[in-house]
C-alpha cells in the first residue's frame, strides 16, 4: 500500500517537474545551429565522427566543452527515442528514490523528452552503455577542447587556455588567436594573446617576424620566453647572429626586471611578516614591556583568538552556508569576538595567577608557562590535535598586481590592520584616562597607589587589553597560516625578541623592531633559505643587544637595576 503510494507520487512528480520546467523555458529544445552541429557530430556514424568533431573547432558554444568532457569520461550515452532516432544524453547525477536516473539532453541539461510520448526518459543504473571512444576520436576531442577555452565566457579560463596554446608552439593555432585578439576586450587576456602569438611566431620562417616576436616578448618580460631564449641560444644550429644578439639583450632585460619585481615582492612580504610580528608583539609590549610580566602563555592567548575566529566562521557557515554573501562577513564579526575571548582568558589568568607575581618576574615566567601547557592541552581536547580549516572570505582571497609585483589581499589587510591597531593602542595609552592611569601604575606602582589609583583594577584592565591584542593577532594569523594547538609556540620567541630589541616599554620601538626583523628575515630567506635566515636574524639580535642592551629605544631611568 505504502509502496504504491510512493510510486504514484514519484511518477506524478517526475511527470510534473519537467512539464513545469518546459513551461518556464521558451521551447522544448533550443535549436541554435552550433548545438545542432554538436548533436549531429555526437550521433554521426563512427566513420564520419572524427571529421564531424574536428569541424567543431572554433565554434563558440558553451555546451560543447561539457559534452565532450563527459564523452571522454565515459558519461555520455546514446538514447533511442520512440520514433527510432537516436539522441545523445547524460544522466542526472542524483538518482531518484528507487535508483532510477533521469536522462538529460546535452545541449540544455534539461530532462530529455521522448519525441513520441513527450515523457522524460528514465533509466536504471548500468542499463545504458557509455558511448565508446577510439584513439582518433580522442585526438579529435582533445583538439576541440584545446581551443574551446579561448572562447569561454570566463576571462580567467580564456587566459589560461591562451597561455597553454602559446606553450604548445603550434602554428596552426595562430589564426584562431589572431582572430580572438581582434574581438578580445579584457586587458589581461589581450596581453596573454599577444604573448602567445609572439611565442608561436618565434618559430616563424620569416626572420623579421621572429625579431618582432622577440621584441614583443621582451616588452612583456615573459619568463617563459626567457627560458625559451636560453634553450634556443644553447641549441646546436645556433640562431642567426642578429637574433642571438636580440635574445641575449632580451634575457638581460627580462632578468633585470624580475630581479626588481622579486625585490619588491620580498619587501612586501617582509612588511607583512613584520606586521604579523607587530600584531603579536604589541600585546606583549604591553604585558611584558609595561607591566613586566613575562607571559609565556601569550602565544596561547593568540591561539584563543584564532580558534574564536574558527568558531565564528562555523556559526556563519551554518547560518548562511559556505561561500555565500553573508559568509564573507564572518571575519569582521570574528575580530571583536577574538579580542573579547582572549581578553577574558587573560583576565582569568591575571586574577588567578599573575596578580600574585608582579614582584617576581622570573617566577611569572614559570607560572605562565604552566598555564600555557594547560591551555594547549585544552585546545587539543576541544578542537582536536590536528589543524582546523579556516576559509578566507572572498575579499581576502586573490591579489592585485602592479607591474608584475603581486600584492596578496590578505597580506595587504594585515599591514593595514596592524597600522590601525598601533594607532588604536597609541590612542588608548596616550589619549584616554585609562591610558594615563596605566602609564602611572607602570611607572611607579606604589606612588600611583598612594595618590588613589586603584592599581589592582588598572593591572587587570591592562593585562586584559594586552591579552585582547594577542587575540586580534590570532584572528589575523588565522587568515595567513595554519591554526592548531601548538601554533602559539611558533611565534612566542620571535615576539619576545621583538619586544626586547625594540626597547622594553616602548610602542615605537616595538613597531620599528618588528618591521625591521620581519623585512630582514624575508630579504634573507631567498638567499639563505627559511631556517638559516631566521637563525641569522636571531644571532644578529643577540649581537645587537651587546651593542645596545636597552634595545633600539631604551627607557631612560635613573635607578640602578
Amino acid at each position: 500500500m505504502l509502496r504504491l503510494l510512493v510510486r504514484l507520487s514519484l511518477s506524478f512528480s517526475l511527470l510534473l517537474a519537467p512539464s513545469l520546467m518546459l513551461r518556464a523555458a521558451s521551447g522544448p529544445v533550443s535549436h541554435s545551429p552550433a548545438r545542432a552541429q554538436l548533436i549531429a557530430a555526437l550521433v554521426a556514424p563512427p566513420a564520419e565522427q572524427a571529421a564531424a568533431i574536428r569541424a567543431l573547432v572554433g565554434v563558440e558554444d558553451s555546451a560543447i566543452t561539457p559534452a565532450l568532457n563527459a564523452w571522454r569520461a565515459g558519461e555520455l550515452f546514446l538514447v533511442t527515442l520512440g520514433d527510432g532516432t537516436r539522441a545523445p544524453a547524460t544522466l542526472a547525477p542524483a538518482p531518484g528514490a528507487e535508483g532510477q536516473l533521469l536522462a538529460l539532453s546535452v545541449d540544455s541539461a534539461t530532462p530529455l523528452l521522448d519525441s513520441t510520448s513527450g515523457k522524460p526518459l528514465i533509466f536504471a543504473p548500468k542499463q545504458l552503455k557509455p558511448l565508446d571512444t577510439t584513439a582518433p576520436l580522442r585526438r579529435a576531442i582533445r583538439d576541440v577542447l584545446e581551443v574551446a577555452g579561448v572562447s569561454d565566457p570566463t576571462p580567467s579560463v580564456r587566459r589560461e587556455s591562451v597561455e597553454r596554446l602559446g606553450q604548445s608552439r603550434k602554428a596552426e593555432h595562430l589564426p584562431l588567436l589572431k582572430a580572438r585578439l581582434v574581438i578580445e576586450k579584457v586587458p589581461v587576456v589581450r596581453a596573454a594573446l599577444t604573448d602567445a602569438i609572439a611565442f608561436i611566431q618565434l618559430a616563424d620562417s620569416d626572420s623579421k617576424v621572429r625579431l618582432a616576436a622577440i621584441a614583443s616578448l621582451t616588452e612583456a618580460h615573459s619568463l617563459a620566453a626567457a627560458a625559451r631564449f636560453k634553450e634556443q641560444l644553447a641549441a646546436t644550429p645556433a640562431p642567426p647572429a642578429d637574433e642571438a644578439a636580440a635574445m641575449v639583450a632580451a634575457l638581460k632585460k627580462i632578468e633585470a626586471h624580475w630581479q626588481i619585481v622579486n625585490f619588491f615582492g620580498n619587501l612586501f612580504r617582509g612588511l607583512s611578516a613584520g606586521s604579523v610580528l607587530l600584531l603579536i608583539a604589541l600585546g606583549l609590549a604591553i604585558t611584558f614591556g609595561l607591566m613586566g610580566v613575562i607571559n609565556m602563555a601569550h602565544g596561547e592567548l593568540m591561539v584563543v583568538g584564532a580558534y574564536a575566529t574558527f568558531v565564528v566562521q562555523n556559526i556563519f557557515v551554518s547560518a548562511f552556508g559556505l561561500g555565500s554573501f553573508g559568509f564573507n562577513f564572518y571575519f569582521i564579526a570574528a575580530l571583536p569576538v577574538a579580542f573579547a575571548a582572549a581578553a577574558a582568558v587573560g583576565l582569568l589568568m591575571e586574577r588567578g595567577v599573575i596578580q600574585f607575581l608582579y614582584k617576581r618576574p622570573l617566577e611569572s615566567l614559570l607560572a605562565t608557562w604552566g598555564v600555557s601547557l594547560a591551555l594547549q592541552q585544552t585546545f587539543r581536547l576541544v578542537f582536536g590535535p590536528a589543524n582546523v580549516q579556516i576559509n578566507a572570505p572572498s575579499w581576502l582571497q586573490g591579489s592585485a598586481a602592479i607591474s608584475d609585483v603581486l600584492f596578496a589581499y590578505n597580506r595587504l589587510f594585515v599591514i593595514g590592520f596592524a597600522a590601525l591597531v598601533v594607532l588604536g593602542v597609541w590612542l588608548v595609552l596616550n589619549r584616554t584616562s585609562l591610558g594615563l592611569l596605566v602609564r602611572a601604575v607602570m611607572q611607579n606602582r606604589q606612588m600611583a597607589s598612594c595618590i588613589g589609583v586603584k592599581t589592582t583594577h588598572v593591572n587587570m584592565m591592562t593585562f586584559g587589553f594586552g591579552s585582547g591584542l594577542a587575540g586580534l593577532a590570532g584572528a589575523c594569523l588565522s587568515q595567513l597560516g595554519n591554526v592548531g594547538p601548538s601554533m602559539g609556540q611558533l611565534h612566542i620567541i620571535d615576539a619576545f625578541m621583538v619586544v626586547v630589541s625594540g626597547g622594553v616599554g616602548n610602542i615605537l620601538g616595538t613597531v620599528a623592531a618588528s618591521l625591521g626583523i620581519g623585512t630582514v628575515d624575508q630579504l634573507l630567506q631567498p638567499v639563505l633559505g627559511a631556517v638559516m635566515g631566521k637563525i641569522l636574524v636571531l644571532f644578529a639580535i643577540i649581537l645587537f643587544l651587546q651593542w645596545r642592551p636597552g634595545g633600539l629605544f631604551p627607557t631612560r631611568n635613573r635607578s640602578l637595576d
Partner: protein, 387 residues
Amino acid sequence: MSSTASSRVPDVEPRFFTRAQWASFIIPTLILAVLLPVFNAVLPPDHLLHPSTFTLNLYGKYATYAVLALGVDLLWGYLGILSLGQSLFFALGGYAFGMHLLLMIGKDGQYKSDLPDYMVFLGYKALPAHWEPFYSFGFAAFAVMAVPALLAFVFGWLAFRSRIKGVYLSILTQALTYAAALLFFRNDFGFGGNNGFTDFKRVLGADLNSVETRRSLYIASVLLLAGVFLLYRWLTRAKFGHLMQAIRDGENRVLFSGYATARYKLFVFVLVAAITGVAGALYVPQVGIINPSEMTAEKSIEAVVWVAVGGRGTLLGPILGALFVNALKSWATRAAPELWLYFLGGLFVTVVLFLPGGLISLPAKFRSIWAKFRSKAPASDSSAIGH
C-alpha cells in the same frame, strides 16, 4: 625578588659537611651505586628486592637529569641567573658523545658502510673532517665538556660583559636554544637533522645492550651525580659561594666592592655548561638516541621546573625535584596521557604560588604550622593527645 630570596635561603654555613651529613651523603650513595647493581646482578629476577635492568636504566637517566637540574639550580638558586639554555648544553654534550658512539657502530649499520647510516642516506661520500677525531674516545670525552663550555663562554662573555641580566638574559638564552634547535633540525647542518643519532651498538668495545654495560652506565651516572653534588656543595660553602649569593642578592654592591662580578658569573656559567655536557653524554647511551628535540627551550624550562618543584637554593632540592617530576611524568603519561600537561602546568602554578621553597621546604613548613598549632592550642588539647 632579591629580598624574598635571601630570606628563604639559610645563611651559608662555614663547614663543608658535619659528621651526620657525611653519613647521610655516603649511605644513599652506597645504596644506589653499589647495593642496587649488586642486587640486580645477584638476586633472582622474581626476588622482592631485585631491581630490573630497566629500573636501573631509568634511575640512571634520572641521575643525569638530576645533574642537569643541579646546574640549573647553581645558576638560578645561587647566582640568580635563570638560564633557559641548559638543555642546549646537555644536548651538545650528548651530540658530542653521540658522534663517537655513531662512529663506533662501524660497518654494523643498515647500509654496512663505514659512514653513519644517515650520511649514506644523504649521499655523503666521505666522513667530514670534523668527525675524524671523534673516533678517539678521549677526544670525544674532551669534546663533551669543551663544546658546551666554549659556547657558554662565548655567549656568557658577550652577555655578562654588557650586563644583560634577569628576564632579558632568560629570553636571550631561550632564543639561543631556539636558534640552535632550528639549526640541528636541518639535514644540511650535518648532524642527522630531525632524527638525530640512534642505533648505537657499543661503547668502549662493550655491547650497549648487554646488562653489564647498562649496569655500568647506571653506576657511572650515580657516581657523576654524587661527584657533582660534592663539587657544588664545596663551591657553595666556600668563600666563592658567599660571593655567588651576594651577586644574586645585590650585584651592584658586589661590583662596587671591587669584585669583577661578570668574571664570577662567566666562570660558573662555563663550569655548569661543561658538567651538564657530561650528564648529556651519559644520558645518550642510556636512552639510545639524541635528537634536536632534546635541546628545545621546552626541555630547558622543564629542567627549571624540576628545580622549582624540588626547591631552589638548596642542592638536595633539584635532585628531589628531578626524581619527583620525572617519576610523576612516567606514571601520568601512562595512566592519563591526555591529562599529563594539566598535571605539569598545575604543578608549575601551584609551586610558584604556594610553595616557593619547593618540596624541600615542606618539612620546615609543617614544623612551623605544627609549632603554631601547638602554641595556639589550649593546654587541655595537648594533654588529651597524650602526655
